[in-house]
Every structure is written in structure tokens, then in C-alpha cells.
């Protein structure tokens, strides 16, 4: 193997700046997409357990369709397919305001919302049916029962699988490079293009992802212990 290493490419020139920019974009994209995914996931996950059939079917079709199609296809769909259908002024505004970023955010959020929904549904279904019946017997409406009884308990049950899913979202944000969002993987490739030092650039990107994922996992393990419901959750996972 005749490869000469030159690690200084990572801090000389603009590389360091690019990596930092990429990291910030990755975090920004993931955080916004996570909010969207959590909102969609909680809504559709809860709707899948309600006693009203039309609402349940709407939620099921959302989850089954978006979850079972590759994220890359959704990226292309939201970036290339949808904007031409929007009204002209909105299109102009979008393409002047980083359309690729918003398309990536929607693609990530809607895709992971469908996957979150599964996590939340199983959390809700892990709660004994009698709790719901008891809250109705106490005179709460269905909505109140969900808001005050079911969801607070379910959200604590889903911390471990929810963390897993959030890390998947973070890692999947790298797919946004296909529609030219300048996130971490994109910047790694850019360093490689400018310096022709593939191994160094890829090592830097890989290490940043690893550190990010491992530290989030460590923090969440603490949160998990803090929010564990005594007697319901055995150490580390849902009982």
C-alpha cells in the first residue's frame, strides 16, 4: 500500500472550519427533524390506539407507507418532486432560503415520525388496558385520559427505544448529502476532494459521528435511569 498519510490536512487550510460547519448543520438538521418526528410520532402513535376506526386507519396508512420506503427516495421526493407543485412565490422563497435544508428536514422528520410512531404505540400498548378504563370510570374524557394518564407513563417507557431511534435519525441525516445539504458527511467529502486525502478526511468524519453517538447514548442511559418507573422497568430496558 503506497499511501502517504498527511494528517495536517485536517487542521491546515479550511478543513477545520468545514468540519465544524458540517457538524453544526448536522446537529441543526437532526434537531429540527427530531422535533417534527417526535410530534408526528406521538400524534400518530397515539391515534393508532384510539377507539375511533377512521383515525386509526389514517395513522396506520401514514406509518406503513412512510416507514417502508427508503429515506433516500423521500429525500429526492421532497426536494425534486414536491417544490414544483407549490405556488410560484413560495417556490422562489424556498430556493432563496436553502430549499435543500428544508426538504431534508421534512424528509427526515416525516420518515422518522413513522418509525417513532411504532415505538410510541408499543409504549402505549405496554400500559395495562385497565388504567385507561379506570380513568374513564373516574370521569375523564378520552382526550384527558391520554393526556394525563397514558402519555406521561408511555413517554417514560419509551426512553430506551426512543433514544435508539433518535440516534438512527442523527446517523440518517448523512443521507441529506445526496441533495447537497452541507452536513458532516458532505464536508468530509469536500475535504477529500480538495486535499485528495481520503483516509484522513473519512477518519475525522467517522470519529465525530462515533463520539456524538456514544456520548448521546451515555447521557440517555442516565436519563433512562432517572425516569425509570420503579417496578415497571428493569435495569436498562422496558420490562
Amino acid at each position: 500500500m503506497s499511501y502517504t498519510f498527511n494528517w495536517s490536512v485536517l487542521w491546515s487550510g479550511q478543513s477545520g472550519h468545514w468540519l465544524l460547519q458540517g457538524l453544526l448543520t448536522t446537529l441543526e438538521l437532526s434537531a429540527l427533524a427530531w422535533l417534527l418526528a417526535a410530534a408526528l410520532g406521538i400524534l400518530s402513535g397515539a391515534l393508532r390506539t384510539v377507539p375511533l376506526a377512521p383515525l386509526r386507519y389514517a395513522a396506520i396508512s401514514y406509518v406503513e407507507f412512510f416507514r417502508n420506503v427508503p429515506l433516500l427516495v423521500w429525500m429526492f421526493f421532497w426536494y425534486f418532486g414536491v417544490p414544483p407543485l407549490l405556488p410560484r412565490p413560495l417556490q422562489d422563497w424556498l430556493f432563496n432560503h436553502a430549499a435543500e435544508f428544508w426538504a431534508a428536514m421534512v424528509a427526515l422528520g416525516v420518515y422518522h415520525g413513522a418509525r417513532m410512531s411504532e415505538v410510541i404505540r408499543s409504549g402505549i400498548q405496554a400500559i395495562p388496558r385497565t388504567q385507561f378504563e379506570a380513568s374513564l370510570a373516574m370521569g375523564l374524557t378520552t382526550f384527558q385520559a391520554y393526556r394525563l394518564i397514558i402519555l406521561p407513563v408511555a413517554l417514560r417507557l419509551i426512553v430506551p427505544p426512543g433514544t435508539n431511534e433518535s440516534l438512527n435519525l442523527l446517523k440518517n441525516s448523512s443521507v441529506a448529502l445526496t441533495i447537497a445539504v452541507a452536513e458532516l458527511t458532505f464536508q468530509t467529502r469536500q475535504i477529500e476532494t480538495y486535499t485528495a486525502k481520503a483516509i484522513e478526511a473519512l477518519t475525522a468524519g467517522t470519529l465525530i459521528y462515533l463520539v456524538l453517538c456514544l456520548s448521546i447514548a451515555t447521557i440517555m442511559a442516565r436519563v433512562e435511569r432517572h425516569y425509570a418507573i420503579p417496578g415497571l422497568i428493569s435495569r436498562g430496558g422496558a420490562a
Binding site: E64, N68, V73, W74, F76, F80, K171, V175, Y209, L210
Partner: protein
């Protein structure tokens, strides 16, 4: 909605893109089926290595799994894309790069499934097999693995579906799968909405039928 773009390019999208027959070496199925089989085989070794008594086997296997589960697949594809030609001093076709990347990456996930499956087999089974005079290898192949495999079926199928969807990422290094085929057609016809929605439906039909088969298998397992 004008669907003529799909009808006119049906052969290229389905026969070339999805199945893999045509002028290009490509195809989603031609990549995903070997990737699933090889990834699972490597995953069995990694899963068993994680459960090994010897530290020098267990620790590297654990590190392997933790590493690949903490890194995006796109990154792994780029690694293989740059590293393998450097190491072997010869250009590797996209198919080889993509297949290697998927097998290495997904083996970490399959490994976790195998580990969980083996751990779900009760300890008494192993003790009974040992008491009968079976060697460790025999215990594994005749007693533990067949039962573990049955417990693994639901999560295995989920992972296969994930891998099937992930193969779309091979298009970023130029492998002509279903996604790349749609891109190629779109560059000529400029009908992104119809094309990408169409391939979304094709992917959905494949993955949804896989999950239905899995449900049926599970019911049969419960009934038996």
C-alpha cells in the same frame, strides 16, 4: 396525473433497476439478496463471538458491533469506496464496493439479533446437551442455533427490510439500482413527482409483502 413517463420507461425502471437485467450491472434485488445472505452469515459469527468465553474473541466482536452501530452507512460506503482500491491496487466495480459495505455494516446489526436469539434459549438446554455428552460445537449446531433461529425470525425479517431499503444508498456511488434508474430517467424526462412516487410505491410493495410473509411465519410458529 400523467403516468406515461412510467409506462414508457417501465423496462428500464423495473427490469434494469429493480431486478438487474440490462446494459448496466445493477439492480436492487441483485444487490440486496446476496447482501442479506452474506450479512447474516457474517452476523452469526459476530453474534457468537460476542458470547464467547475468551476475552480476545469477545472484545473485538463487541468493538466491531459498537463501531458500526455508531457510524452512518453512507460513511461506511465511502470508506470501502476509497480503501479497497488502495489496498488491492486495482479498481473495484460499484457492485463489489456496495456489496462489501452492506455485508460489513449489516453484519453488526445481524450479530446483535443472533446474540439476542441465542441468549433467549434457556440455559437448561445447553446443560442438558452437555450432560448428554455433546461437544460445544454440536450443542451449538443441533440444540441452540435451531431454537435461537426460530426466536429470531421477527427481528431478522425487520432487519432484512431495513437492508433492502438501505440498498438505495448504493446509488450515491453510481450503482444502478431502482433509485439510480429513476434518477437517470428523471434527468431525461424531468418528471420528479411521478417518478419518485412510483419508485416509493415499488419499494413499498416489496417491503410490505416481506413483512406480511413474516407475520404469517410468526403465526405458524405460535400455532406449532
Amino acid at each position: 396525473m400523467d403516468l406515461s413517463v412510467i409506462v414508457n420507461n417501465w423496462n428500464f425502471l423495473i427490469v434494469q433497476g429493480l431486478i438487474g437485467f440490462g446494459p448496466f450491472i445493477g439492480g436492487t434485488l441483485r444487490l440486496s439478496i446476496p447482501a442479506i445472505v452474506l450479512g447474516f452469515v457474517l452476523g452469526i459469527f459476530i453474534g457468537l463471538a460476542r458470547l464467547a468465553e475468551a476475552r480476545w474473541i469477545r472484545v473485538p466482536a463487541t468493538a466491531y458491533v459498537e463501531f458500526f452501530r455508531g457510524v452512518p452507512l453512507v460513511m461506511v460506503i465511502f470508506w470501502i469506496w476509497f480503501i479497497i482500491p488502495q489496498l488491492l491496487r486495482l479498481p473495484i466495480p460499484e457492485y463489489g464496493v456496495a456489496l462489501t459495505a452492506f455485508v460489513i455494516f449489516e453484519a453488526a446489526y445481524f450479530g446483535e439479533i443472533v446474540r439476542a436469539g441465542v441468549q433467549s434459549v434457556s440455559r437448561g438446554q445447553v446443560e442438558a446437551a452437555t450432560a448428554l455428552g455433546m461437544t460445544t460445537t454440536k450443542t451449538m449446531t443441533y440444540v441452540v442455533l435451531p431454537q435461537a433461529l426460530r426466536n429470531m425470525v421477527p427481528s431478522l425479517v425487520t432487519q432484512m427490510i431495513v437492508l433492502f431499503k438501505d440498498t438505495s444508498l448504493a446509488s450515491i456511488i453510481g450503482y444502478v439500482d431502482l433509485t439510480k434508474a429513476a434518477q437517470i430517467v428523471n434527468n431525461r424526462e424531468i418528471k420528479p413527482f411521478q417518478l419518485y412516487l412510483f419508485i416509493a410505491v415499488v419499494y413499498w410493495i416489496c417491503t410490505y409483502s416481506m413483512s406480511r410473509v413474516a407475520q404469517r411465519l410468526e403465526h405458524r410458529r405460535v400455532a406449532a
